[in-house]
Symmetry: C2
Subunit: 235 residues, 2 copies
């Protein structure tokens, strides 16, 4: 937790917050803070700054906060991920948040197992938990938007053309002839398939929508590795 993310309901006065639960535990056990210490804080979807510990015991942490710095600039990317299996999904969501992605579409694909769509990890609160962990790690405040699209065809045909307008649209595909570009100076829409990849029909639909298949060299990366590796190369 490199930043303690604050929410409206944490404020007990205009500049003082009172925290319990997970964040209190972390400050006690990991930061091992004492009264007077300054901790990095940030208001969700708002400014970052410092919190000065004013009271701290096993029951609560109170801090006086000053919020004065803007959060880091978002990555200019929309990530379109074939829904990974639930455990991987949570880690990829966190990794994408850590990297600075602010819009993530989770889409269906032929090789996405139907059961994945029933996972409790897809509940809004479970998703939000991973996003918060990612922001706390990265030192950022802006919650990504996560959108579920359990039907591939209508999403690709009806919604995607509008989404990719004005962006470079890339689909990660190990068999592609062209390598993923570097240092693009543009907004990007990046599609990453399921384990085993998109099937030919899906790749054709994405190509028809304007996506260019790109590879990451000879190696086939798993989704968890591909997301940070590709994003890092693009900017």
């Amino acid at each position: 937790m490199n930043l303690i993310l604050l929410f409206q309901e944490d404020f007990i006065s205009e500049t003082r917050v009172r925290l319990q639960g997970r964040r209190l535990k972390h400050v006690l056990e990991v930061h091992r803070a004492v009264v007077g210490d300054e901790l990095g804080v940030g208001m969700v979807n708002g400014l970052m700054g410092t919190g000065t510990v004013s009271c701290l015991d096993r029951s609560a942490l109170e801090m006086d906060v000053r919020l004065e710095r803007k959060p880091p600039v978002p990555l200019p990317v929309t990530l379109m991920l074939a829904l990974p299996r639930p455990k991987v999904f949570r880690r990829v969501l966190r990794a994408a948040t850590v990297m600075g992605v602010k819009r993530i579409f989770l889409v269906n694909a032929f090789r996405v197992e139907k059961s994945y769509w029933q996972s409790p990890f897809l509940e809004p609160d479970a998703i939000r938990q991973q996003l918060v962990l990612g922001l706390e790690q990265a030192r950022d405040t802006v919650l990504p938007e996560v959108l579920l699209r359990p039907l591939f065809k209508p999403f690709v045909e009806d919604e995607l053309p509008g989404l990719i307008a004005g962006t470079i649209a890339l689909v990660a595909h190990p068999a592609a002839g062209d390598p993923a570009p570097r240092d693009v100076n543009s907004r990007v829409t990046l599609a990453v398939g399921p384990e085993g990849g998109f099937i030919p029909y899906e790749l054709e639909a994405l190509s028809a929508a304007g996506f260019k298949p790109v590879s990451f060299g000879e190696r086939i990366l798993n989704v968890e590795t591909a997301v940070p590796a590709l994003l890092s190369r693009l900017w």
Copy 2:
């Protein structure tokens, strides 16, 4: 499993392998192969090619293999990782293998909990298992070398200077002023600290040994994300 990694003991004749256990299960349940199918195979630390399924039932898979292609070129990097907590360690090891790293030093640091060094995941067989999974994912055959260095000071003072000779030595450090370089045309030694980072003494020792601190923008990446993100940017 994008490649079935083969070992000397799998061969029942010069060109025929017989597999049971995990690989058999995967071929039955994921590849759903039948006799006559061709599967991607590779000899550990050797060539890659195809295996033609000659017998397949619940008890064993036999394939006739042709090995004819070189594995992908290794990344010209030595990775020096402060030992992460065991669960993260396994994933980072796999990610580094997937990316093409062939030499990984696991070193101690002040913020590495002592208990991590007792983890069963550090047993040679447990490490090897993650490396094999990484190679099978990436479609590579060359096992990385993983070296444990539970004492920071003698490693940095005695061994590191020789290791980094002729390489660009970088230490990932979120507070560094310089960003991680892109597209270096050189061998690199990349040091990645523990959660919470290297302490000032460690950073000084690494600087004295020739390491340059570099950051990854304003965000602080977790180790799992930092490794693929940094490697991907370097080449």
